[in-house]
Amino acid sequence: MNIKEIKEMISLMNENGLVELEVEKDGMRIRLKKTASGIEGVSGPIVIERQAMQSAKASFASEPVKEASSKNVEIKAPMVGTFYRAPAPEAPPYVEIGQVIEAGQVLCIIEAMKLMNEIKSEIKGRIVEILVENAEPVEFGQSMFIVEPL
């Protein structure tokens, strides 16, 4: 049983209007259950991410993404504004992929109402991914970085 199979199960559920699907096999048990709007309940060793809100516009995740093999966490925008990776157009970015960061270290700037707000990390970790392009807008709660805690 792997992710591909689970994905297939979910799409089967979606296509066929199932609300619950439970599979137990070789000491492994998968149970999927849907509400009217999305996949909800989870149990067993594999955790499925809470499905994003129906609206295409609600792109923030309300829960950290956790993959089977890691405990990576998302760093989300605490405000609406424009995302900048560096303190000035010519300056080097605050952080790069692969870089180890300390708790309290500045990761980026969000400009809101002409104010430059430095966004700091609350944890120590390693930058796994940067999800927003420089000078792009971010909304409240939008994921900006994926960090592997150290």
Partner: protein, 454 residues
């Protein structure tokens, strides 16, 4: 004209504004809190930006977040709806300084009418009647007696910092006034941390009649008839209608001309509402002005055929009003019932929750303004209004029958709502005859009046 507008609101009014924009070919940006991600206004806008947490202070009242969302989406104007930032002069000023058009009156307009006491004084100056009495703090018993003798009993003592009926005392004679004055001061202190009180002529069983006005930036002001909003409970309107059953065309013209005079006197811009009290002899008293679109605006739209939201947007873009006072005609009667997620049989306590089953009324004469759908979760974070049903008939009697029929169709399970209240109201013979005051709901439900007999 604007090409893109941000709507700084949620619920049915956000949807209402999106609808007007779509019909005008204007693109829309919705803002929303994390609790509203699956809300219809988010789904129906061209773009949507999450601006904060569920709490209004973090989202819909969060001025930097709203302005920031307006900047990143590059809109030319913001429509504030009603509530939240709609009558916040500071917000209107910030919009101005950010070169974003605030779709509403000027910050000065909002400020003047935001101070209710100052507004009354200023309206009295231009000749509008106000309720007789002090317009400032009454310091002691002797001053109170002097005022009461001048304005004649009965009088009412009100807390300066008060609202919602709290701390009010009605006095029918000097003995009552003397005994109530100190109590009223003490209650004001206890309730509002401010012992200041003032005295007014007590208007027994008044009607709440308000006049819709529309003003452009070129000095044109129109009145669009009245709404009777006397059906209210604890100052919350429950049902509104236009025309008022007690206003004839002569009184309509008089109220309308007063309202236009008021608007003209301080160069008002946009849609606004002048609230009057009518006593049982149909004496008129200016109460206050609301410098925003109101929840009950649809009843005026139905009888005039004028889309008020579109007009707000047009005058904000400095367009001239496309009609004159003589072009405004009133056709039939319209009634609005506010369907709130409140348990009418249990003191109107809010009843949020998920809508498992929904059938909305439809058919001829029915307009529905709502943001709910089957599967929608009514949030406990915001007001409990879930739908407005508007019935339009050729006369009041037909509108009432259409509304009764519509209420009988409305199914919303398992949510408790004000539907049974409205069903009861619509079969009350006094209500049907149009004989009611702002005390009517309390009387019908056998509840205590907000103001105690002193």
């Amino acid at each position: 004209m604007f090409s893109k507008i941000l709507i700084a609101n949620r619920g049915e009014i956000a949807l209402r504004i999106i609808r007007a924009c779509k019909e005008m070919g204007i693109r829309t940006v919705a803002v929303y809190s994390q609790a509203d991600a699956s809300s219809l206004h988010v789904q129906m806008a061209d773009e949507a930006i999450c601006i904060g947490r569920a709490q209004s202070s973090s989202s819909y009242l969060n001025i930097p977040a709203v302005i920031s969302a307006a900047e990143i989406t590059d809109v030319e104007a913001i429509h504030p709806g009603y509530g939240f930032l709609a009558e916040n002069a500071h917000f209107a000023e910030i919009c101005e300084s950010c070169h974003i058009t605030f779709i509403g009156p000027t910050p000065e307009n909002i400020k003047l009418m935001g101070d209710k006491m100052a507004a009354r004084i200023s309206m009295q100056k231009i000749g509008l009647p106000i309720v007789p009495g002090s317009v400032s703090v009454v310091k002691n018993k002797d001053e109170a007696i002097k005022i009461a003798n001048r304005i004649k009993y009965p009088v009412i003592i009100k807390a300066s910092a008060g609202g919602g009926g709290k701390g009010m005392r009605i006095c029918h004679n000097e003995i009552k006034l003397v005994s109530s004055f100190m109590t009223a001061q003490a209650e004001a202190e206890a309730n509002f941390g401010n012992p200041n009180v003032y005295i007014e002529k007590y208007i027994d069983k008044p009607r709440h009649i308000e006049v819709q006005i529309l003003s452009d930036t070129h000095g044109h002001h129109l009145y669009l008839g009245e709404r009777d909003c006397s059906i209210q409970r604890r100052h919350q309107k429950l049902l509104e209608e236009s025309p008022s059953p007690i206003v004839d065309s002569k009184l309509r013209k008089r109220l309308g001309e007063m309202a236009v005079k008021a608007a003209k006197s301080f160069n008002y811009v946009g849609a606004g509402t002048i609230e009057f009290l009518l006593d049982q002899d149909k004496n008129v008293y200016f109460m206050e002005m609301n410098t925003r679109i109101q929840v009950e605006h649809p009843v005026t739209e139905m009888v005039t055929g004028i889309d008020l939201i579109k007009q707000q947007i047009l005058v904000a873009a400095r367009a001239r009003l496309p009609f004159k006072q003589s072009d405004i005609h009133f056709s039939g009667a319209a009634i609005e019932c506010r369907i709130n997620a409140e348990d009418f049989r249990n003191g109107f306590i809010p009843c949020p929750g998920k809508i498992e089953s929904l059938i909305l009324p439809g058919g001829p004469g029915i307009r529905i303004d709502t943001h709910i759908y089957q599967g929608y979760e009514i949030s406990p974070y915001y007001d409990s209004l879930v739908a407005k049903i508007i019935a339009h008939g050729k006369n009041r009697n037909e509108a009432l029958r259409i509304m009764q029929r519509a209420l009988s169709e409305f199914k919303i399970e398992p949510i408790k709502t004000t539907i049974p209240f409205h069903s009861q109201l619509l079969t009350n013979s006094l209500f049907v005859k149009g004989e009611f005051s702002t005390h009517f709901v309390n009387e019908m439900l056998g509840e205590e009046e907000p103001a105690k007999e002193g």
